[in-house]
């Protein structure tokens, strides 16, 4: 299983722990990450650049898809937002050959052409669809028994369902819950799991963004969650990084550790928490790790 690895901006910027954990966990799982093909790939535009110019965003993503096609490898993402923005762009490009041809004209100078065959996949989907949950279960060396984890998907990995093929691949809808179970933990279901973390408006309306953090983390916690896990580093930045502000809206600290998906995998696969930089979170994971008898 080899993939053209698209790390995204955040895992190389504000969330280096995601990058470290991905590399470690994928190595254990036999998911080979080829860094070469995506070396010159740009940001997806994250939906923000698209506000100014959607055509520009689609062209940048078409370039990324063309690079993946040239490598002959499937494209792997580790961010809900990267994945969703790519899936939306891909849907527009694939459904309109005229548009695809126009976009390709702007790639030609670099000798690139997008043939419409890229199929970007989030690591979460790769676990369920390519690796298989049984295989994942068989590789768990430190089952997270007794550990209660709330899933948090990130908007872009659940909507719009048409771009994400959720009707054709319904297993994607509860993939995160199934992975939580596969590592031996217990799922804490809560309605906020598919809603917005607030990150996109953090720079625009911080009060609202932080209220969203407060609502989701306190709700999950009140339902018994020991931790929350997310396949989206932007959700992580907000749910972890702004939890102190969210706590100050309430009388007491919320104190809900937020794990990146590969960090949760890594714990179950026996990877050293420090190698996955679990000591670098804003909300401490120390108590959590000691509770599951894993020393940080």
């Amino acid at each position: 299983m080899k993939y053209a690895f698209y790390p995204g901006c955040v895992s190389r910027g504000a969330a280096p722990e995601l990058f470290a954990a991905t590399v470690e966990a994928c190595a254990k799982l036999g998911i080979e990450l080829d860094f070469e093909p995506m070396k010159t790939a740009s940001c997806t535009g994250s939906g923000v650049l698209q506000e100014k110019n959607q055509r520009l965003g689609d062209t940048l993503n078409a370039r990324t898809f063309a690079l993946a096609e040239r490598s002959g490898l499937p494209l792997l993402t580790i961010c809900s937002t990267c994945q969703g923005v790519m899936s939306q762009a891909n849907q527009r490009l694939k459904s309109d050959p005229g548009y695809l041809a126009e976009v390709n004209a702007d790639l030609s100078e670099e000798g690139l052409e997008y043939g419409g065959n890229a199929d970007p996949r989030h690591l979460l989907w790769v676990l369920v669809e390519d690796l298989g949950l049984d295989k994942l279960k068989s590789m768990v060396v430190r089952p997270m028994t007794g550990f209660r984890v709330a899933p948090f998907y990130g908007c872009y990995l659940v909507r719009p369902s048409s771009a994400l093929d959720l009707d054709e691949k319904p297993e994607r809808r509860d993939s995160l819950e199934r992975v939580i179970e596969a590592v031996g933990a217990q799922v804490v279901d809560f309605p906020g799991k598919t809603l917005c973390c607030g990150f996109p408006i953090l720079m625009i309306n911080e009060t609202n963004a932080v209220k969203m953090v407060a609502n989701h983390t306190t709700d999950a916690k009140s339902r018994g969650a020991d931790a929350m896990v997310t396949p989206c580093p932007l959700c992580h930045l907000n749910l972890d990084g702004y939890q102190p502000q969210a706590s100050s809206m309430h009388a007491q600290p919320i104190d809900l550790p937020i794990l990146h998906l590969p960090q949760m995998l890594g714990l179950a696969l026996g990877i050293d928490p420090k190698a996955m930089r679990l000591n670098k979170h804003i909300v401490s994971t120390e108590k959590l790790l000691s509770e599951v008898a894993i020393s940080a």
Binding site: Q50, E51, Q54, R55, T59, D106, C196, M203, I282
Partner: protein, 319 residues
């Protein structure tokens, strides 16, 4: 077929003025909608169950409510599908983000108030034409989708921003605003966009796409909000946090191929000389710094960035 519905009840005048769920088991045809089932309950089982409906054909917009946690028109949702989705009892609740008056009926007053706030009527300048205002067909086509809005409030029900901030204009009113901003006959764009650029307007949307998914008519409210942002920036309203954020983000991708997480917040907040805003960033920055989570100070360009920059030039030229 036998189905059971778990309906959220609430009656402020009753002896039990707290919301609660009531289970109803009934028999319905395979082709029945959730609305058919609710009407059957009201007529045959429990006459006190209160709901709004009229057309039963997804036209009037009266019957928006939450089915299995998601906003939908009850008359447009098959019971079989809802049972399958729920894997048991179908959960029926009133629409969200609007106050419940009784059972499944919510107060639409704030909804209409916000629609009125965007002045949803044509405002033209110059002398009135002798007959009707004429607009070329192709200039009106992009409004066809947004004109199919039936004002059911499904988008408002599931909006994640309204959940934390009732001041937000919300997806329905903003989609309606786009319907007039995008109308070639309307001459009030400057004022409209200036208002929409304010707090509670287009920049407060989180792009969560809940409204896109909830809308039974394919109006794509969020897409309209994004189009309004673009129009606002094009019209020169570039001084909001949101506009500066979009601008700085795009610049960063053009410059280096990726996002500069250190400079983006600073630029979005109006630059380092906006002292009050900068001070607000300090605690977050410090906490991140202490944990070694600060983004790299030297923001390196991607290799081959000239190719990305060329795409920027080519595509931006086309506008």
């Amino acid at each position: 077929m036998d189905v059971s519905l778990s309906v959220r009840r609430f009656n402020p005048d009753a002896s039990r003025p707290e919301p609660y769920f009531q289970e109803y088991g009934i028999q319905v045809e395979k082709s029945a909608t959730v609305l058919d089932a609710l009407i059957k309950i009201r007529e045959e089982v429990d006459g006190t169950l209160t709901l709004r409906c009229s057309c039963r054909s997804a036209i009037c917009g009266s019957c928006a409510m939450r089915v299995n946690g998601q906003a939908a028109l009850a008359c447009n949702t098959k019971v079989v599908d809802a049972v399958e989705q729920a894997g048991g009892s179908v959960v029926v609740e009133p629409a969200g983000n609007l106050e419940v008056i009784k059972d499944l009926v919510v107060d639409f007053q704030p909804f209409w108030g916000k629609v009125r706030d965007v002045e949803p009527w044509l405002q033209t300048a110059g002398p009135e034409p002798e007959q009707e205002y004429i607009a070329p067909n192709e200039d009106m086509l992009h409004l066809a989708g947004v004109m199919s809005c039936i004002m059911c409030g499904a988008c408002v029900s599931d909006c994640t921003v309204l959940e934390v901030d009732p001041n937000f204009l919300g997806p329905a009113a903003l989609a309606k605003a786009y319907r007039f901003v995008g109308d070639p006959r309307d001459d009030a764009n400057a004022g409209r966009l200036s208002n929409l650029n304010e707090y509670g307007g287009v920049w407060d949307c989180t792009r969560c796409m809940q409204c896109v998914e909830a809308c039974p008519k394919g109006v794509d409210p969020m897409g309209r909000i994004m189009a309004l942002r673009d129009r606002a920036m094009e019209a020169g309203f570039t001084n909001s946090h949101g506009a500066r954020h979009a601008e700085a983000f795009t610049e960063s991708v053009e410059h280096s191929g990726r996002v500069d997480e250190l400079r983006l917040p600073i630029k979005s907040k109006g630059g380092i000389f906006n002292v009050p805003e900068m001070l607000k960033l300090v605690p977050v920055g410090l906490r991140a710094q202490m944990k070694g989570k600060r983004p790299p100070i030297i923001h390196r360009k991607n290799p081959g960035q000239h190719n990305v920059r060329r795409i920027f030039e080519k595509v931006e030229d086309k506008r």
